[in-house]
Structures are given as C-alpha cells and as structure tokens.
C-alpha cells in the first residue's frame, strides 16, 4: 500500500461557512508532506478533521488503505496518528514525564509508576535525538523544549504519522535547525510527517511533496524537487507575489524620535538596556536587528511607556516622553504594533470591532459624554476590515476566533489608521504567510513614503534587509552598529548581532 493516509474530497463547514471544500491529501509512507496555505486557508481545520477533533460533512478518510471514521482524538491515537498543535497543551506545573503520561498513566498496584514512565520517556527521547529531561518542569523549559515534549507525547502513544501545525512559528532560527534534524531522524525511524507551514524556505529544505490549499479549496499537490518558492507562493496566494518589496529611496526629514543614554531594567531586575542612543527621522524605516533577548522588548516597552526606565531620555517630536503613561505617549503621535499580539495587541474576548478602537474608544465619535456609540465603532471596524483585508466572518466575531494573520492585519489597521508620526512595528510578520507578509511590508513602506517614521524590530534578517532604510544592530542592550542595508550582507549582520563589534560602526552609533 502506497499511502498511509488518504483524505479524499473532505468538506468541513462551520455553521454555513465552508472552511474545507473538497480537499484531497495523500500521505506516502516515509515522506515529509507539506500542507501549504495562507492564514485562514483551512489547514488547521483539515488536520483537526484527521485528528478527530472535527467531523467532516463529506469525504472519506483512509488509513493504510482502510476507510475509517475518526470520531475523536483517541481513535486517531489508536490509528497511530499524533498531532503537535500550534498552541501546546501542557500542564505548566507538571514535569515532562507527568505531561507525557497524562491520560495514559502506567500504574503499578493502582499507583502511578513514574519511574518506569521516566525510563520509557528517556529511551524514546534518546532514540529520536530529542534531548529532553524527563524530570524537568514544563514551566522551566524553553518553548522549543516544550514542543519536543509534545512530540514525545505522540511518540509515547505509539504514533507513526505525525502532524505538525506550524511548528516553526514559535521557534528561534537555531531551534528551527534542530527541529529539522529531528524530522529527519523521525523519517529514518519509519515515521511519516505532515508539516503545516507557510514558510517556503522550510518546504524547499525538508519536504518531499506539498499540498496547497487556498481559501478552503484544494489547489493540488506538487513534488518539491519540481517546483520553486515563486511558483509555490503564487499557487498559495493565487497571484504573483513579490518577495522583495519594491521601494523608492528614502528621503529622511526631521528627527522625530531621539533616544539618549537610555537605561532600562528587565522584569528580573537585570540591566537590559545599558545607555542606548538612537535617532529616527521622518520618512525612513529604521530596522533594529538583533538576536532575541538583547533588550529589544525592554527598549520598545520603555519608549511606549509600558515599562519604567531608569534614566535617559526619549523625545518624540522634541518632547520628552520618558516614563509618561502609555496613553500620553500614544497621543503624542505614536503607533505601536506590539510583539505579542495576544498579550498586548488584542483583547481576545472582545469582538474584532471593539479591538479596532482599543486605542481610540474614549474619543469622539466612539464615545460621547462617557457613553459608547457602538454603531460608529462597528462602522469604523467595517471600513478597516475591508481596507486592511481582515478576513473575518463579521465585525462582531471575537478576536479570539481569527487566524494570526488576520489578527495582525486588524492591529496594523488600527495603528496605521490613527495616522501616527512614528510607527513601532515589533515582529510584525511573525508567524504570517507570504501573502500577509507582503501586505504588511507594503503598508510599512507606504507609511514611510507618506513621511512617517517607522521603527522595525525583527529577528528575521530577510525582513530587516528587505524593508529597512537603515539598520541598527542591538547587542546586549546597546546599539553596536548602524549599517546601510545596501552595503551590508547577511553574514556581516550576523557577526554584528553575535557581538563582534565593528569599531568605526560602533562610533557611528554614538553620533
């Protein structure tokens, strides 16, 4: 039998909305099969059908040639199907082993036999090169490690078909490399993998075949060695996509943001920003390049008033805003696309319409003498939804229900619409697909062309190189270099980010 999994003509509706329309996906034994599609295309839905979380309205599922009905995840488990979800399902206060055996405890005389389980977990971990400590507490291990615990969980339950829902979205570049290595080991050990992603690079690197879906419809399956990123992108989006956003040269104007000798401590009281200087002009995009954890978060929080700074100054349009409350800072003309959209960017239990006015709800016409005008709010929301192409069933849908890309578009719409002089974009395209990335980059450049200043913080070198007019490299809480993207290379940036301070650039930075 050639295929281990066959999903044939699957259709899944959500109260009238068709999330999967006649999609076919066939997984060969021993292959890594990519499932590619924009945010909201229906990838997670299709995999949740395979994992038994949803029941399809139409279609057939075959496992190793036999038609099956997967009524719930236990059935999927028994069929050897395991899934690593986009959002992990782990108990923070439990150890790795406790999490893995949860629901499938080995007992000895009615008592959980943790010792045997730990040995078993260690054995599997070694076999697949996962390097997980069975006794570690979940709350003490990194996100990358937590993901491996999820992988272990499926393997412990005897899965030989593994589904990964956007596993790399939450990982650092180094962790991604390691994960890819793990994939290869899994395949060598006879497993088959379905990998949901919209990162074309990853597909080209590890996958054998790709099934593309677009807006809920199956577009087709292609062999990776017979295609290229450009073709994949246009299959996925349904039109040609530019990877490198075209832009004219910047014409920087007056200085709008000026940071001098800024010192900030992080939540643990460690000095995260150590006397940082930076200046941003109208009409330019300044990219902040750096490895995660070098003070980017603290820098942004200090500028926006979300975190108290020790000393120094932050001037917006020549007015010192250091340690003012966030609203005062916002009102001086600052827009902020926060790094963590679930934590800071949205109230997930509010409708998308309510979130669209999260920064302006208290102003006219949304609020008048303390009373909200929801009609005006939802009118506004409707406009922004169509202008920024937010795909949502309606403006009354809870923000929680939207895909990441659409949540992000909503935030960007909200922030740009306020017409701020300075726009801070922190990791604006994290976890998004090429179509959405292109859209967001265009919007940022558009802001610049309108004479606004954009501060772009990103861990993705591609993005920094592509979009910025100037690049400032941050390392251990200081700007160690300022370079021109046209005159630098990824290699040089990589070295600077790793702390090999370039002498003259270091001096430049202090101008």
């Amino acid at each position: 039998m050639e295929y281990v999994i066959e999903m044939l003509n699957i259709r899944k509706e959500f109260s009238g909305f068709v999330a999967n329309d006649n999609i076919t996906l066939q997984l060969k034994k021993g292959e890594i099969h990519a499932l590619l599609g924009e945010n909201g295309a229906g990838k997670s839905t299709l995999m949740n059908v395979l994992f038994g979380l949803y029941q399809p309205e139409k279609g057939e599922i075959k496992v190793k040639g036999e038609t099956v009905k997967i009524t719930d995840p236990n059935v999927a488990n028994d069929l050897g199907i395991g899934m690593v979800h986009q959002h992990f399902m782990l108990v923070d206060t439990f150890t790795v082993t406790e999490n893995i055996i949860l629901g499938k405890e080995t007992t000895k005389g009615g008592v959980i036999d943790i010792k045997t389980a730990e040995d078993e977990v260690r054995k599997i971990s070694e076999r697949y090169g996962l390097a997980v400590d069975p006794q570690a507490k979940i709350s003490n291990i990194s996100v990358g490690m937590q993901q491996r615990v999820e992988i272990l969980k499926t393997l412990y339950r005897g899965a030989d078909i593994l589904i990964f829902d956007e596993p790399t979205a939450v990982l650092t570049p180094q962790e991604i490399k390691e994960l890819i290595q793990i994939f290869k080991t899994l395949i060598k050990e006879g497993k088959s993998i379905i990998l949901i992603t919209h990162k074309l690079k990853e597909i080209m690197e590890v996958c054998d075949r790709v099934t593309v879906i677009r807006k809920g419809k199956g577009i087709g399956t292609v062999n990776v060695n017979e295609t290229n990123p450009t073709d994949l992108a246009s299959l996925m989006v349904g039109r040609d996509v530019e990877f490198k956003t075209e832009k004219i040269d910047a014409t920087p104007g007056v200085e709008v943001l000026e940071i001098e000798n800024l010192k900030v401590k992080d939540s643990r009281g460690v000095q995260a920003i150590k006397g940082l200087n930076l200046s941003l002009r109208a009409g330019e995009i300044l990219g902040i390049a750096g490895v995660d954890g070098n003070g980017q978060t603290e820098l942004i929080e200090a500028i926006t008033g979300l975190r108290k700074a020790e000393s120094g100054s932050v001037k917006i349009n020549r007015k010192n805003v250091l340690n003012l409350p966030p609203r005062k800072v916002t009102e001086t003309g600052l827009g902020h696309i926060p790094q963590d959209r679930h934590k800071h960017g949205l109230v997930l239990n509010y409708t998308i319409g309510e979130n669209m006015v999260l920064q302006t709800y208290y102003q006219k016409p949304f609020s008048k003498s303390g009373v909200m005008n929801f009609k005006k709010i939802y009118d506004k929301a409707r406009n922004l939804i169509s202008e920024f192409d937010v795909r949502t069933p309606s403006e009354y849908t809870l923000a929680r229900a939207l895909s990441g890309g659409n949540q992000q578009k909503a935030i960007i719409g909200r922030e740009i619409d306020r017409n701020p002089d300075i726009l801070i974009a922190a990791q604006p395209t994290r976890g998004l697909d090429v179509g959405a990335i292109e859209f967001i980059h265009k919007r940022l450049i558009e802001q610049r062309d309108q004479g606004k200043a954009v501060l772009l913080v990103s861990f993705e070198l591609d993005e920094i190189m592509n979009v910025s007019d100037r690049i400032a490299v941050i390392y251990e809480g200081e700007i160690v270099a300022i370079v021109d993207p046209k005159e630098t290379t990824e290699q040089e940036l990589g070295l600077l980010m790793a702390g090999s301070k370039k002498k003259e650039a270091g001096e430049d930075a202090n101008v």
Binding site: Q55, H344, V347, N349, Y350
Partner: protein, 350 residues
Amino acid sequence: MQMSSRMKNILTPIIAVLLGVLVGTIIMIASGYNAITAYQALWNGAFGDIYFIGEVIRQTIPYILAGLAVAFAFKTGLFNIGVEGQLLMGWVAAIWVGVSFDLPKIIHLPLAVLAAGVAGALWAFIPGYLKARFRVHEVIVTIMLNHTALYITNQIIRSVLSDGKERTDMIADSASLRSVFLEGITDYSRMHWGITIAIICAIIMWFILEKTTTGFELRAVGFNEHASQYAGMNVKRNIILSMVISGIFAGLAGAMEGLGTFGYMAVKGGFTGVGFDGIAVALLGGNTAIGVVLAALLFGGLKVGALNMPLEAGVPNELVDIIIALIIIFVASSYIIRWFIDRVSKKGVK
C-alpha cells in the same frame, strides 16, 4: 448545527435547577417524605397567596443587589467574596443615618440609602486598593474583611447606636422604605419600595458594563490587563473602581434589609448569608443583569416557600437548603452540563 452559545447560557442554569430539584426529590423519597406534597407546599408557600408573593419579592430585593455586586466584579475579572461584609457595613450605615436625623423624607431616605452605598464602597475599596497596589488577591482580603465587618457592626450597634443593647432603635419613618401601599396590595407582607431600587440597579449595571466607556475599560481590564495597559487604560484605577461599584451594590443590599425589611439592625452571631447567596445568584444568572434578577427571584421563592414545607408537608426546611446547595453545585459544575449539551446537540445532527 451547533447550539448557539446564548442558547447554552440559558439552558445551563435551567438544567442545573432541574437537576437540583431531581436530586432533592430523591433525597426526600429516601428519607421517607412525600416529595409531591413537599413541592406543593413549597409552591404554595411562595406563590400560593398574594401575601407570600409579597414576601418572595421582599426576599428577592437583597438577593438582586448582592447578585449584582458579585456579577459586576466577576464581569470585570474580580471575585468579590466580600459582599457579605460590604452588606453589613451598608446596613449599619443606613441605620445610623436612619436613627440619627430627623429630616424630610425626600432628603432623609436618599441620604440613608446613599450612606449605605458609600459604606459598602469604602469597604470594597480596601481589597480593590490592595489588589491594584500590591497584587494581594481579593478573595483573601474580602474573606477577612467579612469577619471584620461582622464584629465592627456588632460593636457599633452596642456602643454607638445603643447603650449596650443588642439592637438599635427603629429608624425614623422618614428614612423607611416601607410602603403602606405595597403592604396593602400584598395582604400586609413586608414588601417595600426597595424593589424599585433593585431593578434600577440592575439596569444601571447593564448600562455601565455594556454601554459606557467606563464599562468598556472595566471589562477590558478584566479580560486582559496587558492589552488594557497597552491601550492606555489605567489598570489600577479600573480594578479599584470595579470593586467600589460592586461594593455600592452590596451596601445597597444592606440598606434594603435595614431601611425596608427590618427598620433596625441587631447584633449578629453570624453572617446573614445574603452576601454568599449572592455568589450563587450571580453564578446562576450567568453574571448578567437580567439573569441575576431572575435567579434572585428563584432563590427568594425557594427561601420563602421553604418556610411552608414543615407546616404543610412535615418536611424540614433544611431540605430546601439542601436543594439550594445542590443547585449551586450543579451551577458551579455547569461546564459539565455544557459539555453534555454539546454532546447531545452534536449527536442530534448525525
């Protein structure tokens, strides 16, 4: 078709009540009582006579306000266990104003009601402030303040509002919520004007939360403090404000007892229980204004009707307490009921 979440919200408490009644029935039968006569007696004792209806409404009044207090805090992300204490403070404040002044009714009554609201608000301000400023959990503080309130009010009754007596004087007529008219049409029950205050408060709670800018902020802070801070809201101020508004409702519940039902306040050996029942009322009412009113009516009916059970059916009214407790358990475990509804409505389509 999946059942809409609104439908689920309505169905869940109804099923919880039915389950409570069902298990109550089993307990009655098991202890050798006639369940049908018992429920008949309960019904007659609550709605069998216009007098009882008046009494049910009277009992409903503090339940509504206590329920609103819990629900308001809950909707804004706080768990106000301290309604009981805030109620006692409101009660004593209302009586204080009621016995100390001689004013025209148009001033005296509103002043007494206002005093109760302010007292409840101040008592709730403490846990609100501690939570906002020092991140002390409001549940711990409010539980402790319940006890503090009990002893403080007893002390005030003994040493300030009387000369070492066990109860205060009656309030002046000008501060009373009692209504000759309402008593007249309900065969001399103790129903009083407080019902209008309770209903108005229910509307106010709905209006604040759903219609005002303040409510928008309060709910946002309750859902996500980080995003609220990002949006420029004053998180600390909102936490305190939420507790204070909740405390006003609780204090008014005390005013209803003081100015309406009793007209005085007596030294208490223990809690009134109204504040704690408020938690159940809010839970059963899904923390919505209309839900709280309906749930309060149910609790009022059970409480008053229960008094008739020993007389008419020989069933001890502790059994009603058991049924109420069962309902609370079933509401509290409502996620199980939700899960069950989900199962059934899914099965339905296959």
